[in-house]
Amino acid sequence: MATQSVIGQKNNKGQAFTDPRHMMFEAPRTPSFFTGSEVIKEAVRRASCDMMVAYPITPQSEAAALCGELFAEGYIGDYFRGESEFAVMSQCAGAAFGGARVFTTTAGPGTMRAMENFPMWAGARLPIQMIVTCRGINSPLSIQPDTLEISYLMQTGMLVWHAETAQDFYDWILLGYMVSEEPDVHLPLALCCDGFFVTHTKDMVDLTPVDMCLPPYDPYRSPVPCMDMECPPVRMMRDPFVMKSNYISYATHASWQQEVWAAVERSRKHTIGWMNGLIDTENTDADIIVVASGTAVSQSREAIDILADEGISVGLVKVKTLRPWPGEEIKEATKNAKHIIVPEFNVTGWLGREVKATVPNNERVHSGPHVCGGMTMPPEIIASEIKTILGIKVETLSGRGS
C-alpha cells in the first residue's frame, strides 16, 4: 500500500518537515547565546505548532509574548491571549480536541488557577505541551523561583519533566511532542523549569537548523477520536462520561484512570530512546550520592566540585522525568550509596519523599537542603549538609547569623 509522507515537504515559512531523529541527532547545531525565554521561542519556531494560548504571569510572560511574535511571523497557526489560566487551559483543550498541536506556558499561581484542567487533559488524552516556569505559590505574594507547584502536577496523569538548563529546555520541547503524541502515550506534558534561573539567564544553547521543523501532528493517530466530525460519530463521546451510580460506571472510570497511568508508564520506552534515559548519572560508585532535579542539579554539581577539592567523593543522579517516575533507575544508581542527599527549591521536599518511597533502607535519604520563596541555593549549603551528615564539623556559613 502506498504511504504518504510529509518529510521533505516545506511549510509556508519554507521550513522542511524533517525526520525528528535527523533533526535532533544528526543535523548540524549552531551555538547561540540566548535567555531561556528566547530558547522557548526558538524551539517553538521549529515545533510546527497549530495553536498557542497565552496569559501573562512572571516569569513566563516574556516567552509567551515572544511566541506571539512567532505567530505574527506565520510560524504558529493561531495565537491569542485568554482571560485567565483556567480559561487558557480549557482553550488549549478545545484546540487539542479539534486535532491541533497545542503549546502554552504558565507559572505558579497560574498553574494552580488552571489545576482542574490538568486531570481532564490527561483523561481526555490531549497531548498538549505546557511549559511551567516554576515560581512561588505562597501567600504573601511572591514571584520568585520555587518548585512547589510541580508536586501538584505530579498527581494529574500528565507527563512531568524537569529541565535543568536552557539546552534541556530547547531539546525537550521538541522531543516532548515526539513522546507525548505517540499513540500508546497520547498524554499532556508539563515541561517544568525553575523560573528566572533558567528563563532569565543567558546561556549557550546549540540550536537545530532554522530551516527544519518537526513533522505536523497527525490527530488520526490518537487512541481516541478527534472531535472534528471527520469520522462517524455513533453515540460516542470522547471521554467515558458514564455519570451513573452503578458498578459498570465505577469500573469504567477505574479502568480509564488505570489506563492513563499505564500510558504514563508506556512513555518510558519512547523517552529513553529520545532522551537517553529518565535519569543521568555521574560517579555512582561514591558512598554519597546527590539526587536532584532542575537547577538543584547545577548547584549540586558545584557542591560536588567543592567537596572533591577536599577529598570527599560524591556522585550525582539528575532526575529528568518525574512522571514517569524513574524508580528502578534511582534504586539501581543509589544501591551502593550510604547517604542519599536530596536538595530542593521548595519547602516540603516532595522529591525527597518520592526518593524515600523508592529506595530500600531509606534512612539513607537526607531530604534537604530546602530553599524556597526565591532563596538561592549556594553550593556551600549543599556541601555543608553533606559534611554534617558525615560528622565533619562545618564553619557557620557567613551571613546566616550565629
Partner: protein, 302 residues
C-alpha cells in the same frame, strides 16, 4: 465529513450496529433543508436520553439536532449538568470536559478547526445549562463574545441548578425559594440576553421551546450568523419540571404560560446590522431555491 465517508462496505453491513446502519441509510446529512419535520421520518441524531420523563430539555434537544444546518460538520460542546446526561447519545461529535468552561473549549476548538480546515465550514455549537453559562462560566461566556469568537452559545435556562438538586442560579427569578436560597432569591434574574447584545453578540433570542418551527428558525439563523459574522446567543426556557413540582405532561403548558407577552420568556430578539443583511441574503436565496424547485416540478409535470 461527507456522507460518502460513513458508508459501510456491503459485506460488513449486517454486522454493524443498527444505529450506524440507520445513520448511513436514513440520516439527513448533506440535506440543506433538514428540519424538525424530519423528526420521526428520518434517522435522528438523538433518540434515547436519560432525562426525567417529560423534561422539556429532551424536546429542545430533538428540535435543535434536527435543525442543525450542517450536522456532518458540526461539533457540539456541552458542560456538566442535566444536558451532559444526553450528549453520550448524540450522533455528532461532542465534548464534555468540565463544568462552566464550555465557551473556552469552544473558542479553542473553533480556532483549531479553522486552522485545520481553512476552506470548509465547521460549525461549533455550545449547549449548556444556566448555571454553567451564567454563574460559574460567566467570565468565559462573555470573553468569548468580546473576542467575537464565531460560534453559537445556547443556554438551556431552567432557572436553577437541576443536576445537583435544585439550587439557586443567577437566572432564577427573584423571590423563588430554593435550596441555597432558603428565604427566597434576593436579586433579579440576570439579564443575560441584554448583556449578550452589549457584549458583541450579533443575534440574541430569548424564548421557550414550545414551538418546534420557531426553534428551527432561530437555531438556523444563529448558526449561520455565527459562521459568517460572529457570536450568537440563544436563551431557551426548558423548565425543570421536577424541581418546580410539575408532572411529566405539564412541561409544554409551563412554557406556553411563560411566553405570554408580559412574561419573562415572551419572544425577544436582537439582530445586528451585518446579521440583518445576512438574513436578508439568506431569505432571498431560499426564495430562489423554492422557486427553482417549483419550476423543476412544473417542467416535469408538463
Amino acid at each position: 465529513m461527507s456522507k460518502e465517508r460513513i458508508k459501510i462496505a456491503p459485506e460488513l453491513f449486517d454486522i454493524m450496529p443498527p444505529e450506524y446502519q440507520d445513520l448511513v441509510e436514513k440520516a439527513t446529512y448533506g440535506n440543506e433543508t433538514r428540519g424538525w419535520k424530519d423528526i420521526g421520518s428520518a434517522k435522528e441524531l438523538i433518540e434515547e436520553h436519560s432525562l426525567c420523563a417529560g423534561c422539556p430539555e429532551s424536546m429542545a434537544f430533538r428540535y435543535i439536532l434536527a435543525s442543525l444546518p450542517n450536522p456532518e460538520d458540526t461539533v457540539m460542546v456541552g458542560s456538566t449538568g442535566c444536558t451532559s446526561l444526553v450528549f453520550p447519545h448524540v450522533a455528532v461529535h461532542n465534548i464534555h470536559s468540565l463544568f462552566g468552561n464550555q465557551n473556552a473549549i469552544a473558542s479553542g476548538l473553533k480556532r483549531a478547526l479553522s486552522v485545520r480546515f481553512p476552506d470548509r465550514h465547521k460549525d461549533v455549537v455550545v449547549l449548556a445549562g444556566d448555571g454553567a453559562t451564567v454563574d460559574i462560566g460567566l467570565d468565559m461566556t462573555l470573553q468569548a463574545w468580546f473576542r467575537q469568537e464565531k460560534f453559537t452559545t445556547i443556554c438551556f435556562d431552567n432557572e436553577l441548578y437541576a443536576n445537583t438538586g435544585g439550587q439557586e442560579s443567577g437566572l432564577m427569578q427573584k423571590g423563588f425559594v430554593a435550596k441555597m436560597a432558603p428565604v427566597g432569591k434576593t436579586f433579579e434574574k440576570v439579564r443575560l440576553p441584554e448583556i449578550a447584545r452589549e457584549s458583541g453578540c450579533h443575534y440574541v433570542v430569548n424564548c421557550t421551546v414550545s414551538k418546534p418551527n420557531l426553534v428551527e428558525k432561530v437555531i438556523k439563523n444563529a448558526i449561520h450568523i455565527a459562521r459568517e459574522i460572529g457570536p450568537t446567543y440563544l436563551q431557551l426556557y426548558t423548565p425543570c419540571i421536577l424541581e418546580i413540582g410539575k408532572n411529566s405532561m405539564e412541561g409544554l403548558q409551563e412554557m406556553r404560560d411563560s411566553e405570554k407577552p408580559s412574561e419573562r420568556f415572551a419572544y425577544k430578539e436582537y439582530v445586528s446590522e451585518p446579521a440583518k443583511e445576512l438574513l436578508t441574503e439568506m431569505a432571498a436565496k431560499e426564495k430562489e431555491r423554492k422557486a427553482e424547485a417549483k419550476r423543476q416540478l412544473a417542467s416535469q409535470t408538463v
